[in-house]
């Protein structure tokens, strides 16, 4: 059995950030990622990030990914790509289906001292008549096609959902040369930031609030879509149907944390809809109810990459502290600074709900400890 000090599961922004922060202090870190390249969703985020200019705001996600990979290499973080974690045990044993250089597969069991779960989130689906037709896809899938694979999913797009993902991917589809015929939003108001929606509005994209999708039409693929108004109980209003000529329907209906690994090693969870569903509880060190197993990024509640990066730093610092690579005092100072930044990122009308929900995770964790 291989022994490692820390195994980080998932090489997206939060996982890489945790790995770098721990490795920087001298901790031996292995990152396991099921993809062919680490970086998570950052490589498809070609837009400039919001946040504090002192901490990578204004830089495009794709460039942050390149920086993180360079830093990980610099501090000696080991990365296993194309490798899937298939088992995780409370005793901090990890079973990994590793892909070797010759493309053969090997099952490896690693005994780690600490585990960081950074598995991210997956897109929610919306079901409607015709939703299984080719051409109906997640907004994230469309974003992967245009920004990673350079393939246009279609020429005339209907976007379902006006949260930041729906708005940003609409903009990027325009940049890729598609036409976004409309953005449909079931709520009476637009979900995402005003600046994101203003960008696609001045590019001529109409937004239908209080509308939903009823049907995707077509034989071998999407040829059209039927949308209609909804009442204040979210029910379709007959007679308000509109038929749009589109060849692609992209769905941006939120994300759900990928908590399976946290569940199989019995981390206690709580249902927090504002953060995407069931969320594993954790303390200020991002440590789960299982001591030595940490959680960072979207798996602890769906937010943005800038908070994911900070959460990774928190866990990385806490791990280095627990393994005695840094003093208590040094760790406390670093973690306080990170918490200040995280709290600032969660302020304002868009962040408030997340801030409250994230606090409920900390409270839930304390309650479990007390009982």
């Amino acid at each position: 059995m291989i022994e490692k000090e820390v195994v980080v599961i998932g090489g997206g922004p939060s996982g890489l950030s945790a790995a770098i922060e721990a490795a920087k202090r001298g901790v031996e870190v292995l990152v396991v990622d099921e993809n062919l390249r680490a970086g998570g969703q950052l490589f498809k985020q070609i837009h400039k990030f919001f946040g504090s200019s002192a901490h990578r705001a204004g830089i495009r996600g794709i460039d942050i990914a390149i920086e993180l990979l360079k830093e990980a290499e610099k501090y000696g973080v080991e990365v296993w790509l194309n490798s899937v974690v298939v088992g995780l045990f409370k005793e901090k044993k990890v079973t990994i289906k590793k892909t070797l250089a010759d493309n053969s597969e090997k099952l490896e069991i690693i005994q780690a001292k600490k585990i960081v779960i950074a598995t991210g989130a997956s897109e929610n689906a919306v079901s409607f008549k015709g939703w299984t037709l080719p051409g109906v896809m997640g907004a994230g899938a469309a974003q992967t096609m245009i920004n990673i694979n350079r393939v246009l999913p279609g020429k005339r797009i209907l976007m379902i959902g006006s949260g930041n993902v729906g708005l940003i991917v609409s903009y990027q589809l325009l940049q890729a040369g598609a036409e976004v015929v409309a953005v449909v939003e079931a709520a009476p108001q637009i979900g995402g930031y005003g600046v994101h929606v203003a960008k696609i509005r001045r590019a001529g994209v109409p937004i239908y609030t209080s509308y939903t999708i009823l049907e995707a039409r077509g034989n071998k693929g999407v040829e059209g879509a039927v949308i209609c108004k909804v009442n204040d109980k979210w029910q379709p209003i007959r007679g308000t149907e509109k038929v749009l000529k589109v060849d692609t329907i992209t769905i941006a209906a939120g994300l759900k944390p990928l908590i399976e690994l946290a569940m199989i090693c019995d981390c206690k969870c709580s249902f927090i809809p504002q953060l995407g569903g069931w969320i594993p509880l954790h303390n200020e060190n991002m440590e789960s109810t299982n001591s030595g197993i940490y959680l960072v990024g979207d798996v602890t509640g769906v937010e943005e990459a800038n908070t994911a990066l900070e959460e990774g730093k928190l866990a990385g610092t806490a791990v280095a502290e627990a393994l005695k690579y840094i003093s208590l005092e040094d760790a406390r100072k670093t973690k306080n600074e990170i918490w200040q930044r995280v709290n600032e990122l969660r302020m304002g009308p868009f962040g408030e709900a997340r801030m409250l929900a994230k606090n409920n995770i900390l409270i839930g964790f304390k309650n479990i400890l007390d009982s």
């Binding site: 837009h47 400039k48 990030f49 919001f50 946040g51 504090s52 200019s53 705001a57 204004g58 830089i59 495009r60 325009l174 940049q175 040369g177 009476p188 108001q189 637009i190 930031y193 005003g194 600046v195 994101h196 929606v197 203003a198 960008k199 696609i200 509005r201 001045r202 590019a203 001529g204 994209v205 937004i207 609030t209 800038n306 600032e344 990122l345 969660r346 302020m347 304002g348 009308p349 868009f350 962040g351």
Partner: protein, 168 residues
């Protein structure tokens, strides 16, 4: 605000929230207009301004406030804004025309001297414009800034151009 329903700000909303330069200032020459009215955690514009004309402070969810007397309308902030929400307008360009500068992250880029269709915040073509300048400096990090000349009475409305089609 109508923004959350319609997806764009009106000039009245900008004036009412104290975000539109005064008439006196507009008559003096180029000045930035920051069309960012929501408290989101973001502050690159504040750092981008060499003249300290943009104030956000702490917390970073404060909305940016422009000091119109410190702003010289240089336009450095346009490409730095991750929300692409900053514009510069110049009422003093000529007798009949003024200039509007805006971020334009679409290819192909317009060519200096060409005539383009100018759009308002709703994406509706409201007049034609002449491309005066296309800046795409390395420091802009792939956010080109386009300046077009348009009739003066359209300066408060025009915020971009119709995307140009690729010639295949």
């Amino acid at each position: 605000m109508a923004l959350r329903k319609t997806g764009y700000l009106t000039k009245e909303e900008l004036i009412n929230s104290n975000r539109y330069p005064s008439k006196e200032r507009l008559n003096k020459g180029p000045v930035a207009i920051i069309e960012c009215t929501e408290e989101i955690p973001c502050n690159p514009c504040e750092v981008a301004c060499k003249f300290k004309a943009i104030k956000i402070g702490k917390p970073i969810t404060n909305t940016p406030i422009l000091d119109e007397n410190l702003c010289i309308g240089c336009g450095l902030c346009i490409a730095k804004c991750p929300g692409l929400a900053i514009f510069v307008i110049d009422k003093t360009y000529s007798n009949k025309e003024g200039l509007v500068s805006f971020p334009h992250e679409y290819l192909p880029l317009p060519i200096t001297g060409s005539t383009v269709e100018a759009v308002n915040r709703e994406g509706i073509v409201i007049c034609s414009g002449k491309v005066v300048k296309v800046l795409n400096k390395k420091s802009f990090d792939r956010t080109p800034v386009v300046t077009i000349a348009i009739p003066k009475d359209k300066l408060n409305e025009v915020r971009g151009i119709k995307r140009l089609k690729n010639k295949h």
